[in-house]
Each structure stands twice: as structure tokens, then as C-alpha cells.
Symmetry: C2
């Protein structure tokens, strides 16, 4: 599996993804699931993928190839006028890849399925994030749904539901994300560090703040080990329940 | 779905289950998923079920009927000499119910599947808990695996992984369970209060401490609303992460 989260704060978009890929428990590896496309000063687009690795790699390769080949340039991700059109392009490309692998007549095949988060900003529009389904359709982030998760989403959801607020600072949001990721890592073998992070500041149209958090990163370790203790203290502070 | 947890503390076993049952989102109801069988002073057995409601109700009805009908009494749950034999009986009865519903030739059918937690103590043996799979086989609780979950297990697992210790007091364990249940309720529509609770004190061989926690229980409400605040404070106490 995989775990990716995108959230929209008042001042920025934050994307985080893990890097573990596996086919069964005896065949696992590390692979990047976060990809960026950009034109400095004009657009920044970040894509995160979950699901069948052959599907997601083909998707990214197609998107990339079509930005480079001159003849094919027109439907390229760098030429779309809005983030909505970018999401449509990603959706149609994803559907194209999945239908290529799916034997004809089989209506729904989980095997080649994938989900995609695509977010960013194009000059003239607001920063936004879309969650693209394997069928190619998609939903947009909103005030009521201020973050999207794909992959192994359940373990890390409760802390996001409770603690997320769009007014958070970038640092607090990163801390929250690391706790959510660490809770997932502790509960599920198919999600693991290092984590890729992209902090996109609104209206910056650049992609300078992309980094990778390694498992031995001291700040991550401090959050990971501190969280167990912090949780116990939080529990201690709650009123007792007597039967 | 469903959410049930059984944990073994040094001094007691604690069982908690939710009560929501649903077939789709437009057909839901409240149903008990915790059942007890006992002979005061001699044995206490608690069973919690998750999965197809027709299967789990048939399972409990068969187990109950066989303790009552004189002729059928021999394979009854009240006559088994050990908890291991109780788990075997539950497993074989569960398999019997599932195979009755499953069309012949179909090897694995999720539709009629169910999982069961069975725990308690029989005089002469130690208190213990088993997790019974739909196939009828089962695993036993251990020091390394000190709690079992069935149903919608993922949302509530991280807090259990972090905060559970076998030396906890009953009150602390109940608080922890309520937080785990509340995290699940907040994230998933198919799990909901009231919650059934059974605290079995080791070597008591009675079933006096069974109760139901309603949604408007003030102590539960205090834990539920206090937890969001406590989590935010716990997050605040962690070191910041700077990119």
C-alpha cells in the first residue's frame, strides 16, 4: 500500500507521501510517489499516486512524455489553463492507462486500479487540490473537506480529523502530518519512511521546498518517540470512566 | 461494520463492542454483539461477533440452544472443560453456519463471513481470549499480542498500540477503550454507540460487571470532547518540525 496526504492551509498547500511499495510481504522496495511539474513563476503542480505501481508509473511517464514531445505538446499538463483542466487531463490519462491493462469486457478490475492526488496553482487561479478516482472523475478540496488521503488512510485519519485546522502554521501542519504518518507506520507494514514532503506557499509558483524525511531524521524521531509519551499524558489528563 | 476489542490486563479481561449494524448506509439498526455464557462460581465466557449478522445470530442461537436442549447438551459451551475447547466449539459452529449459507463449490465467500472473539475463564484454567476466524481456526491472546480487535479495526488501533499496558487499572483501560472507540466513531459511519462493556475480574467466575454506555453518558461525553483538546495539547508539546 501507500499513504499520501494533501492538505490546504490558509497560506499553503502541503503534500506528504511515503515511499514503500510492495507486492506481498516478501517483495517490497522503496519508490517515489510524489512528482512535480512546474513552470517557475507560472505554475506548480504536485501529483501523488497510490495503487498499482505499473499503472501509476505509466501515468506519470505519459504525463511527462507529453510535456516534452513537441507534437504531443498540446494535451500536456504544462499547457492546461486551469487546475481543473489539469485534473481532467490526469483523470483521462489514468483511465487510458487502466483500460490498456484491463482485459476487454471486464468492467471493474481492482488489480490495475490507482488513485491520484493532484494539487497546485496556476497563475490566475487559486491554489487547490483534487482527488482523482480510477474512473477518471475527481473531487475538489473544500473548506468542509480540507484534506485528502489516499492509500492506507484509516490509521492516520483520527488525528487529522481532530487536530487539523486551516489556520495552522506550516510547522504545526508538518508535525501533525508526521504524527499521522507515524501512527500508520506503527500499525501497518506496507507504509514506511522515508517520506517526501512538498510545501507550496500560495502564489509563489515555485517548487523549492521539496524535501525527504529519512527514518533517522532526528526531528522525526523526536516526534515519533515523543508522541507515545504525549498520548499517555493526554490520556492521564482525561476524566476517569467508572463502570 | 462493527468494532469490538478484547484486552487482557494483569487482573482482568475487558470486552467492549459497539452496537451498530448496517446493510448499506440507508439500512442500519442497533444490535447487541456481546453475549455471555456462564455458570456462577465455575465459568464465565464472553463472545463478541463481527461480520454478517445472519451468520453471527445463527452462531449465537446454535451455541445457546445447545446449552439448553438436553439431548444436544454434550457439545454445549457450558460443558467444555477448557477455554481452548470452547474456542474449538465456537470455531466449528461458526464454520457450520457459514458452510450452510455458502453455495456448494464456492470456496471462499466473503458475503457470509464473520469473525468472533471468545474469552473468559473456566475453573482450573487461566483467563484467556481467542480470536476465531471464519474458517473455524483461531489464535490466542499473548503477552506480545495483548489485545484483539475485530470489525473496523484500523482507526482505533494506533492509540491502543501506543498506550496499552497490561498493568493498567481497569479505569484507565476503559478510558483507553473509549478513546479508541470514539476515534472510530468519528471516522466511520458504520460504528456507533451505545457500547457494551464487560469487565471480568480474574478468578471471580461471575458476570456481574456488564453494562452499556449510552451516547449521552456524561463520562463518555467528557472523554470524547476532552480528547480532541488533549490531542491538540499533546501535539503542541511535541518539538516542531522545520523543513
Amino acid at each position: 500500500m501507500t499513504y499520501c496526504v494533501a492538505m490546504r492551509l490558509n497560506h499553503s498547500l502541503i503534500f506528504m507521501s511515503d515511499t514503500r511499495t510492495n507486492a506481498g510481504v516478501d517483495n517490497f522496495a522503496s519508490t517515489r510517489k510524489m512528482f512535480t511539474f512546474g513552470v517557475p513563476g507560472e505554475r506548480s503542480i504536485t501529483i501523488m499516486t497510490a495503487g498499482n505501481l505499473a499503472t501509476t508509473q505509466a501515468l506519470i511517464s505519459l504525463l511527462r512524455e507529453r510535456t516534452e514531445a513537441a507534437d504531443d505538446r498540446d494535451p500536456g499538463i504544462l499547457n492546461q489553463p486551469t487546475m481543473f483542466q489539469v485534473a481532467r487531463l490526469v483523470g483521462s490519462t489514468l483511465r487510458e492507462v487502466i483500460s490498456y491493462s484491463t482485459p476487454e469486457g471486464q468492467q471493474s478490475s481492482d488489480a490495475f486500479s490507482a488513485s491520484v492526488i493532484v494539487g497546485g496553482q496556476i497563475k490566475g487561479g487559486a491554489p487547490t487540490v483534487f482527488l482523482v478516482y480510477p474512473e477518471g472523475n475527481f473531487i475538489e478540496i473544500s473548506e468542509d473537506t480540507p484534506f485528502f488521503q489516499i492509500g492506507e488512510t484509516k490509521y492516520g485519519k483520527p488525528i487529522l480529523v481532530r487536530a487539523f485546522g486551516p489556520e495552522m502554521s506550516t510547522e504545526d501542519a508538518l508535525k501533525l502530518l508526521l504524527v499521522s504518518f507515524d501512527s500508520t507506520v506503527k500499525s501497518n507494514l506496507s507504509v514506511a519512511p522515508p517520506f517526501d514532503v512538498h510545501v507550496y506557499d500560495n502564489d509563489s509558483f515555485d517548487q523549492t521546498s521539496i524535501s525527504r524525511i529519512e527514518i533517522d531524521d532526528p526531528a522525526y524521531q523526536a516526534i515519533s518517540s515523543g508522541w507515545g509519551q504525549a498520548l499517555k499524558e493526554a490520556l492521564d489528563g482525561l476524566p476517569a470512566y467508572k463502570i
